[in-house]
């Protein structure tokens, strides 16, 4: 009898376990109780289970939770830029200046004065205090910049010759070289902290920075979350001088690190987070036009481009303009925007996009290798190329793979066979300097200042050890035109257009498309505000707390 009872019990346990397993297998199907409507669409978020409600902090303060896909790990001021740090830097630190809508505005900087071509004096406000009550002076600004140079993780600071305080509130910057946009980029590059606070920190502010912002880091769980709480003693009390990065419209900002894409989507659906700009285009569709959610598209600074290997020995496209142009004419940019970005993007009309102040409007009406398969075939025949197998190197990812696949199909129409070689970002970064690794390269580039600085990254030969441009081409005229466009005195529409026309004619590389960053958020956030890098600035967003 007892034996029989045990036998029955074991069977019951086994059946229960099996049922749980089967339930889990069907978890993705069927009716939804929370977060999803029966048609599978997303409905208004509600805090799920034991996940804390993101609307308010325990003390009743207003709170916003931002989902990050990458871990900043170290929020120290001089550790450089990374996908994780880029999202939190403006909440954690203040800079001398910031850019909004293409214009530069002082944050800590009250004014600046040009002394000569390579010397500038920067005056800061005389009433800046950090969260520990330390008075920030010119000495602290000089300390921050010199530390940034010493750590070597902020590459834009390399053009600085010296930084020194010449009075209590004036810092003098001397530069080795200065191109257009460099000055603004330098003001925005280095987080400013007081020397006293930095030296008092046991871990170089890696986990507990003392800064001048309106938010103090009150909780740091490495690899998990960071919580910033509004202080009562923010130094800038004149609201007319508050830039977006200094605004403090919410009491608590929590950054949650969620590397898994599907988990990020789940977190937003359930209201565990309020906003993220790390969702894929496919996942973003779940939140478009759905009750309780909104999606704010922000034009990306970055432009996808295609570059031809013109290395004299290894390059399939060296000294063969017809071959390069044939490829360009075979590619349909609108198909790329429709297929890879679901239509959320703009085709490129130059090596860059319209986000930049020095973009020349007339380019928008120009022919920029508008698709013409007949012309492409004719140019291909004129090029005399017999080997039509080419290797396309891409940084692996959903969007780049889609773009590459679309281009592969388009080029097949003129008889060119494309082998797609996807590599991770690091490997691609190594291979892009090795001409034997690729014939065509698909990548993206951008800048926080001017379009000419996007060009500089790719085409300025002084930035490359092989004395060629990004695609190994050594074209003196291209370099000369670039230098003219980069020069502070000659940077104008004419010099920009001259470079653009020459690059277009030579077709060393072409811009493809500008994508949109889709910021998905709950309607708790009524207006999304982004910084110069296109990242959400939680303190400046507008809220409708219930």
């Amino acid at each position: 009898m007892k034996k029989q009872a045990k036998k029955t019990a074991s069977k019951v346990i086994a059946v229960i376990l099996t049922s749980i397993l089967v339930l889990m297998c069907f978890a993705g199907c069927g009716d939804a109780k929370q977060g999803q409507d029966s048609d599978g669409s997303t409905s208004a978020p509600n805090s799920s289970g034991n996940q804390p409600d993101s609307t308010t902090a325990p003390s009743g303060e207003s709170k916003v939770v931002v989902g990050l896909a990458h871990d900043p790990q170290n929020i120290g001021p001089f550790q450089g830029m990374s996908p994780g740090r880029i999202g939190i830097l403006y909440t954690a630190y203040e800079f001398l200046a910031i850019k909004e809508g293409g214009e530069m505005y002082g944050v800590l900087m009250k004014d600046y004065k040009k002394i000569d071509d390579l010397t500038y004096n920067c005056e800061i406000y005389d009433y800046i205090y950090d969260q520990a009550g330390n008075h920030l002076t010119a000495e602290d600004v000089a300390f921050s910049y010199n530390s940034g140079i010493e750590y070597g993780n902020l590459p834009k600071l390399r053009s600085i010759n010296s930084v020194e305080a010449i009075s209590e509130y004036v810092v003098q910057f001397k530069f080795d070289t200065l191109s257009i946009g460099d000055l603004g980029a330098l003001w925005m590059e280095c987080p400013i902290v007081t020397k006293a606070a930095f030296e008092a920190s046991a871990d170089q502010m890696a986990t507990d920075p003392i800064t001048t912002t309106a938010y103090k880091c009150t909780e740091f769980v490495s690899g998990s979350k960071m919580v910033f709480t509004k202080t009562d003693s923010y130094w800038q009390t004149d609201e007319s001088k508050l830039q977006n990065t200094s605004k403090h419209n919410v009491d608590v900002i929590e950054f949650d690190i969620i590397p898994d894409g599907s988990q990020l989507t789940n977190a937003l659906k359930t209201g565990a987070i309020d906003v993220t700009n790390w969702l894929s285009d496919v996942d973003v569709e779940d939140f478009m036009g759905k009750d309780g959610f909104d999606v704010t598209p922000v034009p990306d600074n970055l432009t996808y481009f295609l570059v031809y290997n013109c290395d004299e020995e290894q390059g399939a496209f060296a000294n063969n303009k017809e071959f390069r142009q044939a490829i360009a004419y075979a590619i349909d940019l609108q198909q790329i925007v429709d297929g890879a970005f679901d239509g959320n993007g703009n085709i490129a009309k130059t090596w860059g996009n319209t986000n930049y102040a020095d973009y020349v409007e007339s380019w928008l009406d120009e022919d920029y290798y508008d698709t013409d398969l007949d012309k492409a075939r004719q140019l291909l025949a004129e090029s005399g190329v017999s080997d039509l197998n080419i290797n396309l190197m891409i940084v692996s990812g959903d969007v780049t793979t889609k773009i590459a696949t679309i281009m592969q199909a388009q080029l097949a129409q003129i008889g060119v066979t494309v082998n797609i070689n996807p590599y991770d970002a690091q490997l691609s970064n190594t291979y892009k300097y090795q001409p034997e690794q690729w014939d065509l390269m698909l990548d993206q580039a951008g800048s926080t200042s001017y379009l000419v600085n996007v060009w500089k990254l790719a085409w300025d030969r002084s930035g490359y050890k092989h004395d060629g441009a990004m695609n190994f081409v050594k074209d003196d005229q291209l370099q000369s035109l670039l230098e003219t466009a980069m020069d502070v005195d000659s940077h104008d529409d004419a010099s920009m257009d001259a470079f653009h026309q020459y690059l277009k004619e030579q077709c060393y590389g072409i811009g493809l498309a500008q994508s949109m960053t889709n910021i998905a958020h709950t309607t708790k956030i009524s207006k999304i505000v982004v910084d110069a890098r296109g990242q959400t600035t939680p303190g400046a967003c507008e809220y409708s707390f219930k």
Binding site: K33, N50, A267, S462
Partner: protein
């Protein structure tokens, strides 16, 4: 026994050295440049080259290897992260607790569920219970941990709202990760236990025990199970290695800041000090676990213990 433990501990030194050299060599030849990543997309090739010199990445293989071995084994310093500038030892210490918590809890679940399932299956051989248990075991070894994790999240977090989606905090944050991480282990454990038990149940001494009129419980737990434990313990030991490895994926899904997610981001960023030290620490942890398993053998099986003792007596005699 103490001599044996000491010998095993000493043998771990060349094992650690081997792990260090092997992983350093793999990382050295692995393409990718941490300097480029540190400086970001805006850096030129010239700036990247300067950073490589600063980091010592321009040095030849043997010099870098010797520097690394000296740093780890003589200076006892795991170095600083290239990317985050923080101490790798501190980073590992702060994260190891989460990984160990998941791995040990998963191990506990594996033993608590896997063993009874195996015993039930063995004692009901070819019956309904056996088939159900083995079906669960088959599913366990077939279902990838990350998929199971995501399905459980959809059910228990998104739809039912019972458990948190991600992060760390109270015990509720670890329920789904531990179940997902242990499911394959439970299956393996159940299959191994069943197989060992079946072998033992057919033995003469078990038949004798039954013939003496002992209850089925006494036969199973006093006579059969202790003799079936050796292969089960081996599976538990190996399973711990799998749990530590599996935690990498699970930590990523559930955003748990353990050593796995730490290493994952380091591998993507070519942050060599973290990868090298992480593998070394996991290797040492696993070596200790295997040593522990060997010691447990001696306690479980008197024959093994007697073997150690006989060797010690022989050594004493020959010394005399």
């Amino acid at each position: 026994m103490a001599r044996y433990i000491l010998k095993r501990l000493l043998l771990m030194i060349p094992v650690m050295l081997g792990i260090a050299i092997l992983i350093f060599t793999i990382m050295y030849f692995c393409p990718g440049d941490p300097a480029a990543l540190m400086l970001g997309a805006g850096a030129t090739q010239v700036e990247i080259a300067q950073k490589r010199i600063e980091l010592g990445l321009d040095q030849p293989y043997f010099i870098r290897l010797l520097q690394y071995l000296k740093q780890v084994f003589i200076d006892l310093d795991l170095g600083d992260s290239y990317f985050y500038g923080t101490s790798v030892a501190a980073g590992i210490m702060s994260r190891m607790r989460y990984t160990l918590l998941i791995a040990l809890s998963s191990m506990g679940l594996q033993i608590l569920i896997g063993m009874p399932l195996g015993i039930v299956a063995a004692t009901h051989r070819n019956g309904l219970a056996d088939r159900i248990c083995m079906m669960i075991a088959l599913l366990g070894v077939s279902i990838p941990g990350f998929w199971l994790a995501l399905m459980m999240v959809v059910l228990f977090s998104v739809k039912l709202g019972w458990l948190p989606l991600y992060g760390v905090g109270g015990i509720q944050y670890f329920i789904l990760p531990v179940i997902a991480n242990s499911f394959a282990g439970i299956a393996t454990q159940a299959r191994q236990t069943r197989s060992s038990m079946l072998e033992v149940i057919r033995s003469d001494y078990v038949a004798t025990a039954r013939a003496k009129g002992l209850s089925e419980r006494e036969v199973l737990f006093k006579h059969a199970l202790p003799n079936a434990l050796i292969p089960i313990i081996t599976i538990v030991g190996n399973g711990m290695g799998m749990m530590l490895g599996g935690a990498v994926v699970i930590e990523n899904v559930f955003s748990i800041p353990g050593i796995g997610s730490y290493m994952m981001s380091a591998i993507n960023g070519r942050d060599y000090p973290i990868v090298l030290s992480g593998v070394l620490v996991l290797g040492v942890t696993f070596s200790f676990i295997m040593l522990l398993v060997d010691i447990i053998y001696a306690f479980v099986d008197p024959r093994i213990k007697a073997n150690y003792e006989r060797k010690a007596i022989r050594r004493k005699k020959s010394a005399a």
